[in-house]
Amino acid sequence: MSTLSFPLLAQAVVSGILFGSVYAAIALGLGLVWGVMRILNIGHAALAILGAYLSLTLVQAGMDPLLSLFISIPVLFLVGVGLQRFVVESMQGRKDAELHTFLILYGIMVAVENLQVFIWSADVRLISTAYSSQNLNFLGLILPMGRVISLAMATAAVATVFLFLTRTKMGRAVRAIASDRQAATLMGISVRRLSRVAFGLGTATAAVAGLSLGLVSSFFPGIQIVWVSKAFLVIVLGGVDNILGLFLAALVLGVAENVIGVVAPAFVVDFVAYVLLIGTLMVRPQGLLRRAGP
């Protein structure tokens, strides 16, 4: 705890934005899958951590972190397609499809997390590179290089998905599915194929999220449940169908946490985040930025 001075506050705001961009990257895929398929992939952050471990392994083998994405993105894309193909699609038509899908994803989350413990151990890791220890000096503020890269990646991921959804034909079709599945089928959209693409894209962003997470903060397999609830908080705050709102909410959360962290003990940050999540869910489950809805 320390007194609040201006440079300290500015530093907190800046690192809050850096941290918030990671929240955005994780919430992005979770929100995409939720928005299109109406499925809460509770294992999403476990997959992001998997992406972080893949990158970590490749970086340790001497690869540049950014290049490692060329491997981790396709891998996680396929995982997502597989989840849609073998889990979601086989549950469709069941009476309790939503419940059963959630349970299966929950089981997968438990399995993936503990498989990570088995392969990479439960030790705390951090992805570090030659330049991650360098600092960027910006107007007297110190910006660690790793975090700047992480911010750039996360922002690029959000922008890519945003442009995909708004500027491409396929992306528009995905949005059509999100807004009305049946009508989309009638318009000749291949719902099945595009749902696989959407789920794949959602988990592919987890690869980017995982790397930016690994560059910004330390991680271990069990931490995933904290990240998934934070990502969920971002979605709840920013609204599901609104990627820009989501990005904004993530930045606000990151800044709020870091600013609170300056003036209060660390646990207050978590406390505030969870109270915010529970409170928002109970009062406005449809999200803060959405005007109305079910």
């Binding site: 809460l40 509770i42 086989s90 069941r94 009476k95 309790d96 939503e98 419940l99 059963h100 959630f102 349970l103 299966i104 929950y106 089981g107 997968i108 989350m109 438990v110 399995a111 993936v112 997390e113 503990n114 498989l115 413990v117 088995f118 439960a122 449940i225 904290v226 609830s229 969920f232 003990p265 646990f267 978590d270 406390f271 969870y274 109270v275 999540l277 529970i278 869910l281 109970m282 009062v283 489950p285």
Partner: protein
């Protein structure tokens, strides 16, 4: 049949009660006590999760509240956990009443994530409250008895607790209240239209399913004699409750008994064979497979086989008498299968 079954049942119960005093190795007494604890927890999870389909991932919160009630009661006020256990249940009920009303309005994954966050919140709160020992936890003095008798006492208490929870679930299942819960799982709106006070019924189930973990947690704290926020509010325990109930068949009183027995004994055996993280990987996979292949759990699966066989036998028997075959035998299995799908979680 009952003439034979009754004395046999009484004998079995007698054996269960007398088990720790028959010179069994202490390891097995401890093992079975743990089993009863898990049966009690899985059954109480199923009161809400199994019958209404509201999957709580935060039942460990109530377990932790019970544990801390007992720990503080014993270490500060010197009151035996056996006396404070109901108080742990009471505190759990109070919390369930507070959070239940707003959170039970949320459906599906929203409810699950809310309850999960509440468990996190409780853990963070316990870690940072000095009266609760903070991150260091609380050490409880152990029972002033020889170890074998201590274990025997815990064995009996957990046995009684498990029996009470299972008995309550069984009674509930056959009551109006139980039917109301099933109606909510089938279709909440329809249930409401048909006069089920949905809000009250859900809250009642939530409160019941919070009370028992509170009591169990208190006894557990005494048994383990040292608690900290990570063990008392272990998210993994919430996972176990769900897994055991689902595995055995949540929505049937016998389900959690079967599920808890198999999962718990399997995990206790596997500990000797494979590393514990692989153990958990395996249980994650088992959960996936169960939902895929036996969504009603083992008991539901067996019951399904049983009704199918019975239907088969009936149609075999009636095929020799073609006159009443279409009238008497064909509709029955249809009706039963319908009832079967209705019970699905």
């Amino acid at each position: 049949m009952p003439r034979v079954a009754r004395p046999l049942g009484a004998l079995a119960v007698g054996l269960l009660i007398a088990f720790p005093f028959l010179g069994a190795p202490i390891y097995f007494i401890h093992l079975l006590a743990g089993l009863y604890m898990n049966v009690a927890l899985a059954s109480s999870w199923a009161i809400l999760g199994g019958y209404t389909g509201y999957l709580s991932l935060g039942q460990v919160t109530f377990f932790g509240i019970g544990a801390y009630t007992a720990a503080i009661g014993l270490s500060v006020y010197d009151i035996s956990p056996f006396l404070t256990a109901p108080l742990g249940g009471l505190f759990s009920v109070l919390l369930a009443l507070t959070i239940g009303y707003p959170s039970l309005r949320l459906r599906g994954p929203y409810f699950s994530v809310t309850t999960l966050s509440i468990a996190f919140l409780a853990q963070v709160a316990a870690s940072n409250t000095t009266q609760m020992g903070g991150g260091y936890g609380i050490q409880l003095p152990s029972m002033p008895l020889p170890i074998l008798q201590t274990e025997g006492v815990f064995y009996l208490v957990f046995l009684i607790l498990a029996a009470v929870v299972v008995w309550s679930t069984r009674r509930m299942e056959r009551s109006r209240f139980g039917l109301a819960l099933l109606a909510i799982r089938n279709d909440e709106e329809v249930a409401e239209v048909f006069g089920v006070d949905v809000v009250r019924v859900k809250l009642k189930a939530f409160v019941l399913s919070a009370f028992f973990p509170g009591v169990v947690g208190a006894i557990w704290a005494y048994q383990i004699s040292y608690i900290d926020p990570h063990s008392a509010f272990d998210i993994g325990l919430s996972i176990d409750m769900l897994l055991m109930a689902m595995f055995g068949g949540a929505g049937r009183w016998a389900g959690p008994i079967v599920g808890a027995s198999m999962v718990y004994l399997l995990s206790q055996t596997l500990v000797f064979v494979i590393p514990s993280e692989l153990n958990r990987v395996l249980f994650g996979i088992i959960l996936v497979l169960v939902v895929f292949a036996m969504p009603q759990g083992i008991t539901g699966f067996v019951e399904g086989l049983w009704t199918k066989r019975a239907a088969q036998q009936r149609s075999d028997a009636s095929s020799s008498d073609p006159a009443d075959a279409p009238a008497a035998s064909t509709p029955r299995p249809l009706v039963q299968e319908q009832a079967e799908t209705d019970r699905r979680l």
